[in-house]
C-alpha cells in the first residue's frame, strides 16, 4: 500500500464499529510516545489522569445530551479542535451546547487557548452600576423599575416626556422596598410588580438575569444537571423579558395608575386600592 493510500485508509476498531482513521491512530501514537517520555514522573501522571478523566466526562456528557449527534459524529477523539486544548469531539460538544441549549461561546471564550474546564455565561440583564443605559431602548416597565434604583431626575424626565408625569404626581419613594415585595406568594395583581422589581434588582434566582459583568464571574461545571439547569434558566430569562410586554401595555393604557400601584407596592407592600 502506498503512503497516500495508507494515510487515507481507515479500519474498524474493536469498540463497536467506531472508524479510526490512520491520522487518528498516528496522533494517538504521538500522544502516547509523549506520555511515555515522561511517564515516570508522578506529578505528570496525575495531570494526565486528571486530563483524561475530564475528557471522558465530556464524552459521556455528549453521549447523554446528544445521543443522535454522538452516533453520527465523525469528529476525532485525538486531533485538537478550535479550542486547542480539546479534541475535535469535545469541541463538537461545546458547539452543540452553544447551538441547542444556550449561547455562551462568544462570551469571554474567544481565545482558542481557553481552558474550558469550567465556563462563564453572558449576563442577559443590565448592569446598573456601570453600563450606559439608554432608556429609549428599554421596555417602559423596566424603566419604571429603575425609578427605585437610580433615584435621579433622568428617569422621571423619561416619564415626563413620554406621559407628562413627574415625581410630584406620586408619593415619595421609600429608601428600601417593603418586605412583602420579596414574598414568593403574591396576588395576581401584585405578581407582575414583584417580578419586575426582582428583575431590576437582579434577585430572580436565575443566573442569566442575576449575574452582571461587574461582579466576579461565576463559573459552571460540565455536567448534565448544570447544562439542563442553565438551558431551562435561559428559556425562563427570555420569558421574564417577554412578560414585561403585558406590563408595558398596561402602562401605555394608564401610566398614572400603574406607576401609582408599583410605587404603592414598593412603599407599603400592597396596592392602595386593595
Amino acid at each position: 500500500m502506498s503512503t497516500d493510500a495508507t494515510m487515507r485508509s481507515s479500519r474498524l476498531s474493536g469498540n463497536g464499529g467506531t472508524i479510526v482513521s490512520f491520522s487518528d491512530r498516528l496522533l494517538k501514537s504521538l500522544e502516547y510516545l509523549g506520555f511515555k517520555a515522561r511517564c515516570h514522573n508522578a506529578a505528570a501522571a496525575c495531570d494526565t489522569v486528571a486530563r483524561l478523566l475530564a475528557e471522558q466526562q465530556k464524552y459521556v456528557l455528549y453521549k447523554e445530551l446528544f445521543p443522535k449527534e454522538w452516533k453520527g459524529s465523525k469528529a476525532s477523539f485525538y486531533r485538537a479542535g478550535s479550542y486547542k486544548r480539546y479534541s475535535e469531539r469535545v469541541n463538537e460538544l461545546f458547539e452543540l451546547v452553544n447551538e441547542k441549549c444556550f449561547p455562551f461561546l462568544e462570551y469571554w471564550h474567544d481565545d482558542p487557548e481557553t481552558d474550558f474546564e469550567r465556563f462563564a455565561i453572558p449576563p442577559l440583564n443590565f448592569d446598573l452600576c456601570c453600563e450606559e443605559i439608554d432608556f429609549d431602548n428599554l421596555r417602559v416597565s423596566y424603566v419604571a423599575g429603575l425609578l427605585f434604583y437610580f433615584r435621579d431626575e433622568e428617569v422621571w424626565d423619561f416619564f415626563s416626556q413620554k406621559y407628562d408625569l413627574s415625581a410630584q404626581d406620586f408619593p415619595k419613594l421609600s429608601r428600601s422596598p417593603h418586605p412583602n415585595v420579596w414574598l414568593e406568594k403574591q396576588q395576581a395583581r401584585t405578581k407582575p410588580y414583584r417580578d419586575l422589581i426582582r428583575l431590576v434588582d437582579h434577585s430572580t434566582g436565575n443566573p442569566w438575569l442575576d449575574l452582571t459583568h461587574c461582579e466576579y464571574q461565576e463559573l459552571f461545571e460540565w455536567n448534565k444537571e448544570t447544562i439542563e439547569m442553565l438551558t431551562t434558566a435561559h428559556q425562563d430569562a427570555g420569558k421574564a423579558f417577554a412578560n414585561l410586554e403585558k406590563l408595558d401595555e398596561r402602562i401605555d393604557e394608564n401610566p398614572r395608575r400603574v406607576l401609582s400601584e408599583l410605587i404603592s407596592f414598593w412603599n407599603i407592600g400592597r396596592l392602595l386600592s386593595s
Binding site: T18, E31, C39, C46, V49, Q56, Y59, F77
Partner: protein, 80 residues
C-alpha cells in the same frame, strides 16, 4: 535516627510506584471512544487522590531533609 544516614533512611522506606503512573499508563493504552463507566471514573478519582497525596508526602520529606543539619561522619572517607 538510629545512627542511619539520610540516604539509608530513604532506602529503607517502603517504596511503591505512584498508582497514578500505573493508571495513566492504562488510560493511555485505551481508545478514547471506549467511554469509562461510573465505577471506572470513581476508581480513577480515588487513585488520583492517593497519587496526589503520595507526592505531597514525598515533598514534605524532601523539605524536612533540606532543613536537617549536616552531620560529620564518624570516619574519614577513603581519599581524604
Amino acid at each position: 535516627m538510629n545512627g542511619k544516614s539520610p540516604l539509608e533512611i530513604l532506602i529503607d522506606e517502603k517504596e511503591q510506584i505512584n498508582p497514578a503512573i500505573i493508571l495513566a499508563d492504562e488510560l493511555m493504552r485505551r481508545a478514547a471512544a471506549e467511554l469509562l463507566s461510573v465505577e471506572d471514573v470513581a476508581k480513577a478519582e480515588r487513585v488520583l487522590e492517593i497519587g496526589a497525596r503520595e507526592i505531597e508526602v514525598i515533598d514534605v520529606h524532601r523539605k524536612a531533609f533540606l532543613k536537617s543539619q549536616p552531620t560529620p561522619l564518624s570516619y574519614v572517607p577513603y581519599g581524604f
